[in-house]
């Protein structure tokens, strides 16, 4: 049974949840509570990274870091529910992504060599975690094969949990166009999965 981020059941490494208690957690974070902000961050950062790794694979971590810096600075001014919070977070990320793309076009750089998986010491637990994460990584790799707009719409609808109207507002398109793009993306996913015989 899949585990959803917005459900009550969360991973075992945190005892805080966001959902009905979002308003309380938000108020505490705005008041300077580090624990409350940590809840917000742990709830939203995985989804943010997954979104960024599909639309900007090489610079996902940098964009995510810059996004959170902006969020921290603007946190006291934020007002809204959890849906508005996520919309604000992903809108900020998208803008940072566009800014970085603009900077990279002006100043192209070569990325440094990253630590490969072979260099990381492996343990039994790490192996198990890697197996569990295969499904997530595979799903992200699958979405990367879609056209950029279709993949982005699906990620914002599913991973970010945003409504069609909110996504349309972020992308500057009509809700109908967003819906059509999402459907086409899902059909293409179905064709890829069915034709390749891949099961997750």
């Amino acid at each position: 049974m899949p585990i959803f981020l917005r459900a009550d059941a969360f991973s075992t490494d945190t005892q805080h949840v966001v959902g009905e208690d979002f308003a309380v957690v938000l108020a505490a974070a705005q008041g300077g509570s580090e624990d409350a902000f940590a809840v917000l961050w742990r709830d939203a950062n995985p989804a943010l990274l997954r979104y960024l790794r599909v639309v900007a694979s090489e610079h996902a971590d940098d964009v995510a870091a810059e996004t959170w810096v902006q969020v921290v600075r603007g946190l006291p001014r934020f007002a809204g529910d959890e849906s508005a919070w996520r919309a604000w977070l992903f809108t900020t990320a998208r803008r940072r992504l566009l800014d970085q793309a603009r900077v990279r076009r002006r100043h192209p750089t070569e990325p440094l060599d990253e630590i490969t998986a072979a260099d990381v010491p492996r343990t039994v637990d790490a192996e198990q975690l890697a197996m569990e994460n295969i499904a997530t990584e595979s799903a992200m790799a699958l979405l990367s094969r879609l056209p950029e707009q279709q993949a982005e719409v699906i990620l914002l609808r599913v991973v970010a949990g945003l409504d069609t109207e909110v996504v349309a507002d972020m992308l500057g398109r009509s809700p109908g166009a967003v819906r059509v793009a999402a459907h086409r993306g899902l059909k293409r996913l179905a064709a890829l999965l069915t034709g390749a015989g891949v099961t997750l």
Binding site: P2, L5, V72, A139, L200
Partner: protein, 284 residues
């Protein structure tokens, strides 16, 4: 997938838009079989966070902590709740004495009347001439006068050039007047020396007679012109007294100095200076 002799696209679609909306909304209970793999893929995207996705928490918490402390400091100062200023506000420097002055209108300088410039030049020339005359007549210039006084016979006197002065004073004594060559455009040293002597004498003539009020204005104009020429020869207006001293010494071949009422006997002349003062002055 059921076996069928018909191609896949023959017949009703395996799923419709409502099914797709249900997958997007994670309502996967009644979705068609064809969409099950898609639903599973989307569910994997919403799985529990991976360790790598929680790695950057320390960095962002440090940023949050720093800003929270900053805001806490701001709360203490003005008591506002939720001070949202993440940056320092710099005060606008007031305009003070350090402010750069507005540039003066250059036109004012240019608009200075010509007459005032001429008046200033004449005043400067007159002051220089007075100083020159005072130095010469008071005997403050040593050296040349002493030499002239001791060897008066060998000192030639150049003919004077008096601008507009008809009465050229004569030099009494054994000094012979030798005509000087006209200054050429190239100007040898001797020529320049004679020209300098001529100009110095002319200046002296005007200064000597400057007490006459009837010719004051005209002579001031001539004096200004003469002093400009002398300044060029002497290498500056400040060099004039010393420059002309070498030429005006022939005026006093005996070492006598003219008597200036009020000044008394002049210093560096010979012992006979005081005796023939009046005579020398009359002849000059």
């Amino acid at each position: 997938m059921p076996d069928s002799p018909l191609p896949p696209w023959w017949g009703p679609a395996p799923f419709d838009e409502r099914d797709l909306d249900a997958v997007l909304s994670s309502e996967t209970a009644d979705i068609p079989v064809a969409l099950r793999p898609v639903a599973d893929a989307l569910a994997a995207l919403q799985a529990a966070p991976m360790p790598a996705e929680l790695r950057g928490q320390a960095m962002i918490m440090a940023e949050f902590r720093a800003l929270a402390e900053f805001r806490a400091a701001g709360l203490g100062k003005d008591g506002r709740i939720g001070d949202t200023r993440p940056t320092l506000v710099l005060s606008v420097p007031r305009e003070g004495p350090a402010r750069r002055r507005a540039p003066r209108h250059r036109a004012r300088r240019r608009a200075a009347p010509v007459a005032s410039r001429r008046a200033g030049a004449l005043i400067g020339a007159a002051a220089t001439a007075i100083v020159l005359a005072a130095v010469v007549l008071a005997g403050n210039v040593s050296g040349p006068f002493h030499r002239v006084g001791s060897s008066s016979a060998s000192t030639p006197s150049a003919p004077r050039h008096a601008g507009g002065n008809s009465s050229s004073p004569k030099v009494e004594g054994s000094a012979s007047q030798e005509p000087t060559a006209r200054p050429t455009a190239g100007g040898s040293a001797t020529t320049q020396q004679s020209k300098g002597s001529r100009l110095c004498h002319a200046v002296y003539d005007i200064v000597k007679d400057s007490g006459s009020s009837a010719r004051g204005k005209q002579e001031m104009s001539s004096l200004s012109s003469l002093l400009r020429q002398l300044s060029k020869l002497a290498g500056g207006s400040r060099q004039l007294p010393g420059y002309c001293a070498q030429f005006l010494g022939d005026l006093f071949p005996d070492g006598t100095l003219p008597h200036i009422p009020g000044l008394g006997d002049q210093g560096t002349g010979s012992s006979q200076a005081g005796q023939d003062n009046q005579g020398a002055l009359a002849h000059l």
